[in-house]
């Protein structure tokens, strides 16, 4: 291969820049020209494509966001959109593509490969850690540390005022962020989509404390509803006052942690290696310390399970 392209798509995640840097340097190291596609599939359709080098990727390893930008793209969901994209890819002499993002990104990559035969591998870039085929996704470690730091602050107030706080964290349909953050912050209860949380039990746990100074974590996508819903139900059904905190977009940005930078770097180098080895239509991930490949469709068709030990921890340690 003479030219390999990289793009980022879907929600931005800390470590994407370290990943781009690794792909670029890995290409240069092997005599391949690294290409950047800007704004994800939109840039692929619009031809927003340019050569990358050491200079463009200098001093970005520690920065959040993505220098290649990212965007949602409706056009790529149509055959015509993908055709224009494929034409641009060929016109630029791109012989392999690395698509960094989540399941939406991988759907697009899968179709591009199936319909146009363009060699493409995915790399897991999302704070939600919800992709089957990799222990961790790029951005996840930073997100849980950002969330924990925010909750440590909230706990100062919870302790000082004797208050119940219901804190909502991100995670889409997966409870990884909620579980890791909940255990790390000593939450009294952690509601995640993967398990049933009983409101009566939750109220009981809060009332154990005479002073009710307590943190409850609600993962986005939980069946109980949002943190606001939980807070309202606690008042209506159990006369428990609580404050709501929705951490929101602060969980997406910031300087990546060491783990995210190293994972992003390793997956970048590996993705180039895998393309050169002829792999395509698969995600490059890491499991038990080893690099793995998983067919793209499995990354969203199979459900990545929440390790069972979290449930034990959250029940024993509260």
């Amino acid at each position: 291969m003479n030219r390999i392209a990289i793009f980022t798509s879907g929600g931005d995640a800390p470590g994407m820049n370290a990943h781009i840097r690794a792909v670029v340097r890995s290409c240069l190291n092997r005599g391949i020209e690294p290409i950047g596609i800007y704004e994800g599939y939109q840039g692929m359709i619009d031809g927003d494509i340019a050569t990358l080098g050491r200079k463009e990727t200098a001093n970005i390893i520690s920065r959040g966001g993505t220098i290649l930008k990212t965007a949602r793209c409706e056009d790529f969901k149509t055959e015509q959109g993908r055709e224009r994209a494929a034409k641009n890819v060929r016109d630029h002499g791109i012989e392999g593509i690395i698509a960094c993002g989540g399941d939406g990104t991988f759907h697009g990559a899968h179709y591009l490969y199936q319909e146009h035969g363009i060699p493409i591998v995915g790399t897991p870039g999302t704070i939600d850690n919800d992709l089957f085929g990799t222990d961790y996704t790029i951005g996840y470690d930073t997100a849980i540390n950002t969330a924990a730091e925010a909750i440590d602050r909230i706990r100062d107030t919870a302790e000082s005022h004797g208050r119940v706080f219901v804190v909502e964290v991100m995670g889409r349909h997966a409870g990884f962020i909620a579980m890791d953050v909940g255990v790390a912050c000593g939450a009294k209860a952690i509601a995640v989509p993967e398990t049933h949380t009983d409101l009566a039990d939750l109220a009981g746990r809060i009332n154990e404390h005479a002073h009710r100074r307590t943190i409850i974590i609600v993962g986005e996508g939980d069946q109980l509803g949002s943190a606001t819903d939980v807070s309202r139900m606690l008042k209506e059904s159990y006369d428990i006052d609580s404050k709501v905190a929705i951490l929101g977009h602060i969980q997406r940005g910031g300087t990546p942690t060491v783990r995210d930078r190293v994972l992003a770097s390793r997956l970048g180098v590996s993705a180039v290696n895998m393309l050169l080895a002829g792999k395509s239509d698969c995600m490059i991930g890491e499991h038990a310390g080893e690099i793995t490949t998983t067919p793209l469709n499995e990354t969203w068709e199979k459900k990545k399970p929440l390790p069972t030990f979290y449930v034990e921890l959250s029940s024993v340690l509260v």
Copy 2:
């Protein structure tokens, strides 16, 4: 004086623990017994009062929240409540009190002095910086740095996605937090209660940018409404899409900054000095590097102005 008491009241603020520590050590240094009143005026009424020493205040200088806890107290707004409180104060042999908090706290302190002649001075403990008579309040510096760090994260996403973010920060009826944070984070516009913000002008500023990647700061209490209101109006009137981020309670907690620890320490030492010098019914503050005293009622009757240079900065630098 043989016994001086300290309590914290109203919202907790980072630096309150450093303040308590300074009062305790300053008392011990002068042969006075330091007393802690727990949960603010509620503890004064309930007699939740205990001697403090070096041990109780060891290793707290760097911690957020307040080891004396804090609470809102309805009972203290009644004459009977204050009478019980005054009786407890006298029964414990307390000859002077330091009340750390905001204007609600100072109202209570003022009445306690006026009605019962108990020597009491206030110290400014609130993240909002909205007290007349001091350049800065304890907790303010930490709050603006916490808010700025959160907005730096949000900016990563704003840049990566080309999005407009409308971010709401605390501050009650004062725009200090919004202004400092807005200037520090390079916000495109800063809406504060002290000035009129024109929505059309705001929309115009956003549209200057081809890509609309922009941060707008809305201070709590602004006439335009909340961040959610501003976002809705931008959509309805100018078809501008934006995301809302409400920083909320994370602004209250966390390890205090150096400025907050030093200010809290200095005001603690000064408050003890002032009580011993016979001062009462006043707030101990800092202005232009010097310790000042301001009659308690002036701290809420007079409006602390937002320095005018912020308005110039925010218009020149956007």
Copy 3:
């Protein structure tokens, strides 16, 4: 078992408090009385032993250091010392012990078991990650993030001045910290005890850059010598000016990361489970997401290898 004791020994590591908390709550959850031994083996000899409860371990999950203190202990290296310790353990009715620390700690635990038959398991608590039998040790993740944050700061100066910085990180005889931090910070070269680093090659890498703005990481224990040695040799042999930065003790403390808190919590719960299951003279670790046990003597007799991918990363990405 009716009573299980926990102590921390050797260098302190972030996450030890989360570990103590988990052991205590896990014991209480199973109707066992949790006991704390203060200052490691010294306290075991001196009888500095006390019951722990929810109160003693409240709000410590996010704090660095160890509430049980730690100390080096020469007396425990003698048979008489260990005899006195064993007597104290029996006199306090302690039926199982959890020893959190590094290889020195585990040596002591091994002898205590061999000589006195006291059930004891070790848990890996050290920032150096140098124990065979576990993927990660408690404190490691925090240490690498602290070091990386410090180096990110140094890089600001390296970039602004066009300077070479030779930065020394901790790690004892193992290069884990150096490798993770070096890759994460985009170091130009990483010298670790496990590999031979050629000074001529290192000088060559520095001179590749016209402006020589470069970070070199030297792991403690490298054959080239300390960062100061490397800097001196670069000057003497290659006329390369460089600044030295020795990160030192800041790498030991601070609020633990989420990974360290969760690992510490999980190992705490597992250690109690393992003692109850009759395990002894082994370390409780985590490998590939699963709890493992390793005979204590293997933890220091076997050398934990540095994953090979680091070497590839550090050569490709510089």
Copy 4:
């Protein structure tokens, strides 16, 4: 004026980028072309000079270091060097210059004005806060917070091990950093160049504590010597064991605090205003909230005093 140039010189300081951004935007706002001189006086001599715009200064407000780089320059200390620099300045049509740095920078600026009549104002950019004529210098607030965070980490170890740590902080010939950080971190003693520190007294303070867990702060430039000297003398004369920690270059870098960003922004806008108002050969500073100007030579001839309250605080609060 049609063209105003900015450069940074001496040690880099967090906030310099925010300052550059403010100068650039302030110029553009007034229809002036902003020019950047790279690598300080060296770039002025070498003609390393280029127009700056919004794009070059986008997203730098939160970054440490300086995009204009900085350097020491021996050539500028000669008349010929300054002549070449002055010629370059005139050839580029630069009509006013803003020199951001410390006293070395200001010496150069003073000569450039005196010898060549080029309008030039200085802005205080140094972490040491040692310039007469301004309450704070750009970078100081970040440096003290970075140092305090590092010392908070060290304290975890000091507490856990019962150890004495002698910590050396920066500050050149001034004790500002040492005093602010020492008070903020609850140091047992603070040695600064401005006051005499008695070693016997220092040893006495350490021995007050049964467990000797103590932090001693030594400011660079203290008469007692370096932290290493103090540690050695404590051992030799009083048989007190201690660990040494030299914070070093980590104090220079990192994301600037809100105060540093706002001060840097305000001084940038003010410096442009002052040049336009015909001011020259003076430093633009801030005192008691107001913008001030001080003749450049006074900034180094007059000694900026350490506020006396620090001495009281450090003796009362230890």
